[in-house]
Symmetry: C2
């Protein structure tokens, strides 16, 4: 798998948004991808409580981390797109504290924890980039905490669109103010902490304000400036500037 033919390893694409990689580091990363797997929409990629022996990079598709609550509800705590490690933290955090769900059919690359261990010992710079990757998850969690805690539904929803547009854009999966968002309204409710009904009304509000169009999965941002303004969106937390780490 992954020999020369695939010029754009999405993990490398992702990391290179944040720092430069040496050719050896790139090669070492590619070699760590031992095997790919495919998961159908609606299936769990990892289950809560498991202790996986490898971490998984999303090559294609959308995935979500979620925690179930006793009352049958679930909260989605993160969304993942092409190039994201969906469970890098399982390298150090032993039992998974959440499950990971395929929101669309997903193609994944597996990186054994042993390979991660070897990589970090041979390439301290890669170790720092893995730390970065885990820390970035945390930064996004913090942003979501701020939004769910203190923001109105409209602002929160707008914020999610802004974030996902930039994250997809960074890996070449969105352009021209248009993105593919294959989340149903009930799923969006689980992300935003809103009921499906209210998500629907909030999206209608965004449309009514002329901020975007949203048909099926296709979202088109009509006014990026005003959308960011409504969302109070500041992309700093995404660390999309390459710098030495």
């Amino acid at each position: 798998v992954c020999r020369g033919q695939i010029v754009t390893n999405p993990l490398i694409l992702n990391l290179e948004q944040r720092d430069r990689l040496s050719p050896e580091e790139r090669q070492a990363l590619e070699n760590a991808f031992v095997r790919t797997s495919t998961v159908c929409r609606g299936e769990d990629i990892v289950r809560e409580g498991e202790r996986p022996a490898e971490s998984k990079v999303l090559l294609e598709g959308f995935a979500a981390r979620y925690k179930g609550l006793r009352n049958g509800k679930r909260q989605i705590t993160a969304l993942h797109v092409t190039g994201d490690f969906v469970d890098l933290h399982s390298f150090v955090l032993k039992p998974m504290d959440h499950a990971v769900l395929a929101l669309t059919p997903c193609r994944l690359a597996l990186v054994p924890h042993q390979a991660l261990r070897d990589l970090t010992e041979q390439y301290p710079h890669l170790a720092r980039l893995f730390m970065l990757s885990i820390a970035l998850d945390g930064a996004i969690h913090r942003q979501w905490l701020a939004m769910t805690g203190k923001a109105m539904a409209l602002s929160q929803t707008a914020h999610l669109v802004c974030e996902l547009y930039l994250r997809l854009h960074a890996v070449g999966k969105a352009d021209n103010n248009s993105l593919n968002l294959p989340l149903t309204q009930p799923e969006l409710g689980d992300v935003l902490g809103l009921s499906a009904v209210h998500v629907n009304r909030t999206i209608q509000d965004l449309r009514r304000h002329g901020l975007l169009t949203w048909d099926r999965n296709k979202v088109e941002i009509l006014d990026w400036g005003r959308l960011c303004d409504v969302a109070e969106f500041d992309p700093t937390y995404l660390n999309l500037n390459p710098e030495p780490r």
Copy 2:
């Protein structure tokens, strides 16, 4: 600083809840503490947007990470106690995406990023423990996301008490179902995403249910079992079991 006299370096205490450290690793960590500083209650330990050249370990006191919103509100995204790195992620995440506030007078140890870099290159196991520390922040963020998104105020507040009791207990700062919680109700509101008034009513509810007493800063848990039940608390995400990482 820190020569033999201080037997219980709180960072080491904290890490040893999760894995064993070799004597050399312990020594190397102690040597990385170059200097301590003190911050008064209400002062920022780090400000949003800064690029600190060192990370800080809380030796004594309570601190909070927070993000300000445009409307003047702020959301606290994390609470820190003795033994916690308050900004380890600033080692890799360049501009701080949040500020860190001293909720009480705080004593801090500074660890220069250069020292962290050296430590991770010489002791890959410590590199993994730093990853663990960052990943643990993320796990706690996820738990908070699940609570703010899907839980009632009562459950959420109970959950916070359960979490802090265990975290304080782990570093020897709480015992006998009793803990010191030096947070004002407005501050708790900023943690929980509730108004100060509602925090007050929720605490009264907890008292009325006979779950705890809460006088000034002193919280006494009267019925741990029922409190956990109300909170839907499961401590797995805190990773308080030592295992090889």
